[in-house]
């Protein structure tokens, strides 16, 4: 690991000022991804600002029944908080589908959003990767791309976002609260937080350097009774998703009032299945309808050489997640 200066502060304005002032500075929260990337020489900050002591770990009810979860609340605390378990079981389940007990105890919510892809070409500094080294090319495009994207990729990058938590957050229309230099604040709709790669895959999200996530807000909804997070992976546990589905239904009698569907493991960002959602609004909650919705969504899929299986797998996963959600298995 390269040498770096270690700073810590209990004041978020100071933390933002420190990181904003140095283009090679980075925030250190749980460290589960950043420290690993530094050991691999993928991340090379010359300064870390330890933000673990900022007062940003609260999970609380705010106005209109919305909930705010602090950026520095640990994944474990968040998944087990009564407000989250009761009102957003989809989020709790998605968090618990990710990583291991140890990592969830360390990882923070803000850090979960900002974790980097686990694309092996990104991790291997001997390989070309536009995300790590803009202009060096994409090793995965014509390399081993079994784990890679089938939606929204570009010739510059076919990596996927690795988070489970974010798949639930995009389905739940969460809002990311951000603090910028000088104490200024802004809010970013979750669907606009992460980016598609285009020709700037080095940018995973729309945060500016130095901006700090302070909280994630969850708007009140009526999905809690009918939601499910399904994760399909190579191992039964502790593996990244091949495909994952966050599914939530709001029922009106036998009919679907509205539905939310998001996919993980298929794109550079958590993929909201708007086509499928649109189709299902007002329809009956039948397996045939779920299947047709999945077909519609996957019309836009463009698989790579080694991940063609994700198309059929993804369609079936959508159907199964919706069936489970309908049966309230969360």
């Amino acid at each position: 690991m390269r040498p770096f200066k270690y700073n810590k502060t209990e004041d978020s304005v100071k933390a933002v000022a420190l990181v904003a002032a140095n283009p090679n500075s980075a925030y250190l929260a749980g460290g589960t991804n950043l420290i690993d990337l530094m050991k691999e020489d993928v991340a090379r900050p010359d300064e870390l600002v330890d933000i673990n002591r900022l007062k940003l770990a609260q999970i609380r009810l705010i106005e209109k029944g919305n909930i705010s979860i602090g950026a520095l609340a640990k994944n474990t605390e968040t998944a087990n908080h009564p407000l989250v378990r009761q009102n957003f079981p989809l989020l709790a389940q998605a968090i618990l589908a990710g990583a291991s007990g140890q990592i969830r105890n360390m990882a923070t919510n803000g850090g979960n959003l900002n974790q980097r892809t686990r694309c092996s070409y990104f991790y291997d500094v001997a390989m070309p990767c536009n995300k790590r080294e803009p202009g060096s090319g994409c090793g995965a495009l014509e390399g081993i791309n079994r784990m890679h994207a089938i939606f929204g990729w570009s010739n510059d990058c076919v990596a996927v976002h690795p988070s489970d938590m974010c798949v639930a957050l995009v389905a739940l229309d969460a809002i990311v609260k951000v603090q910028s230099a000088g104490g200024k604040e802004r809010a970013i709709a979750f669907a606009d937080y992460h980016r598609l790669p285009g020709n700037t895959p080095q940018k995973d999200n729309n945060l500016e350097h130095g901006e700090l996530i302070t909280a994630i807000e969850l708007p009140k909804n009526n999905f809690a009774g009918n939601s499910y997070y399904l994760k399909v992976r190579d191992r039964a546990s502790y593996a990244f998703a091949l495909v994952s589905v966050a599914a939530a239904l709001e029922m009106n009698g036998g009919k679907i009032k509205q539905t939310r569907i998001a996919l993980g493991g298929v794109a550079h960002k958590p993929w909201r299945a708007f086509e499928a959602e649109k189709f299902l609004a007002g329809k009956e909650a039948t397996e045939a309808n779920f299947s047709q919705a999945a077909e519609l969504e996957f019309k836009a899929a463009k698989p790579l050489e080694h991940n063609k299986f994700k198309v059929e797998l993804g369609k079936r996963a959508i159907v199964r997640a919706l069936v489970q959600a309908m049966n309230n298995k969360a």
Binding site: F4, K5, I35, K39, L96, A99, S100, G101, A236
Partner: protein, 277 residues
Amino acid sequence: MSDKLKDFELLAEEDQRILIDEEQLLDELGIFGESRRKFLGQATATGLSVLVLQILAEKNALAGTVENELTTSSQIENAVQVSMKINGTEKSLNIDSRMTLLDALRERMQLTGSKKGCDHGQCGACTVIVDERRILSCLTLAATCEGKEVTTIEGLAKGTQLHPMQTAFIKHDGFQCGFCTPGQICSAVALMNEAKNGEASYLTENIQMKARPVQLSDDEIRERMSGNLCRCSAYPNIVAAIKEVHTGQDAGQKWQFSGTKNVALHELEEGERNATI
């Protein structure tokens, strides 16, 4: 003439030279008085040179870990001063900002129970308990541990009384090579609390229900322990050990040491079997 000198003169010339060399080595190692006598006592029984070489090797290996050799900031790049409680004892360390908690424990505290497996947060061999939560010490910078309470495998036993989880791992043969075991045990100890607190897992059936103590099935133990890999694949025995501690129900030992009587009986049986073939 003292007995010692008499003994010395009785030795062949070559042996005398070796002994003089060894006296010099003992001086260099700083072994005097009581420990020198103890050392020589052992040495006569084992052969001096081998022992001296061993001690020299140990001294060299420990050279980088001796605390007072590394306490001034000028010798360390980006030095950070950090204090934490490790296995109940307050420790203060002056460290390079890059040092992980795992390296601080192993290289600076001589607590080598926690293991460096992958060093990338994928295997769980470095699992320790910080402020009552299991975490990965390989992905934790020691600098971030100011004021924290760290428990390692060395801190679980009370004197000579093993922690029930340690006893259960031995009883159920929850390991083969033992490399992952300290991490497995720390992880399992923390898991017992998580279950008591009613924390959920991906397998929890109704996550909306209010948290209450969870009775862990075998599948639940596997899911919740999935961050600890065992290349010897002692998983069934690990699950059995954890289950016994979790339920408090004696599951009975499935193995025992072979005493001379057992060996004799076995040989007799083998002999009979061979005779009938």
